[in-house]
Amino acid sequence: MSREAIDRETPDRLYTITGGRSRAHTDVFDLVTLVVAESEPTPGMQSEHTRILRMCRAPRAVVEISAALRLPISVTRILLCDLLDAGRITVRQPTRSAGAQESLGLPFAHPDVLKEVLVGLRQL
């Protein structure tokens, strides 16, 4: 599919999938928030919800879910909000990244997590 085709197709398809819903608290879902399914899909569930529950039997990041569904990040976030509200998924949030440190007024990730990243990278 060409880029233009996607651009033209997107609005109506997104509208259909989300049912025109918008959600206030999609901020829960960072690109790297890890999502874990807490239940199996049930018959009659929206197909995107079913797929998310299947692919999150093991933890999966929001951005991976978006790529697998071939849906934009913001639409994926709305679908995830549905499942979170229904208690069908739980999330593992980044806690030591720069964003999580904002309350401290520091723009950097915590040194501890950076050290852990360095150790991991050196083993590659």
Binding site: R3, I6, D7, T10, P11, L14, Y15, T16, T18, G19, G20, R21, S22, D30, L31, V32, L34, G44, Q46, S47, T50, R51, R54, M55, R57, A58, P59, R60, A61, V63, E64, A67, A68, P72, I73, S74, V75, I78, L83, R92, Q93, P94, S97, A100, L104, L106, P107, F108, H110, P111, V113, L114, K115, E116, V117, L118, V119, G120, L121, L124
Partner: protein, 217 residues
Amino acid sequence: MGSASSSPGRPAAAEEPEPEVAPLRSTVREGVKIVIVGGFGVGKTTMVRSVSEIRPLSTEEVMTEAGVGIDDVAGVRGKNTTTVAFDFGRISLDEHLVLYLFGAPGQERFWFLWDRLFAGTLGAVVLLDTRRVEDSWYAIDRLEHHNMPFVVARNNFGQPTHTLEEVRDALSLDPGVPLVDCDARRRESSRDVLITLVQHVYALSSAAYGAMAGAAS
């Protein structure tokens, strides 16, 4: 959940093959991210591929003409949208921590989406486009604007025609910002760029946290 059933025009869920991307370990607790920024063809995807444990995947975010993203997806209907595509890979660092590596275009509209997509990023690699230095200059300006620590890496497609010192001058790059050569096709070379970045951020972060602890005592 509502009463929504399968979306029309899409195959039933049971028929859709799920991604063959290996799942994360069940013990993983936290994801972190690093962004590689650079113009078309500078080697972002190549770098992601060379260090990632999965083949690079891609996705996108949508913007309406009116503005950034689509908090209100309903508002998208009937409006023109543009998409910003980016790709990513993954490195499981240990049993608890996973690093996601994003390759992102440095064009103007991308920066409108920065906060929505890349807030909380550990740091950024500017992959230098030696043919269009002004593009890199723009990326550096935007990263500084977002208080995002970064390093600059020159992906060597051939024999470089300038020294790194000349490049530093051309970019008016702060002496404190690391500038390195790399070969994005080589895993060790790409890994070393990431190590340079994380060491740089570690130094900045340790100093900032140390100062905060000092002030508190």
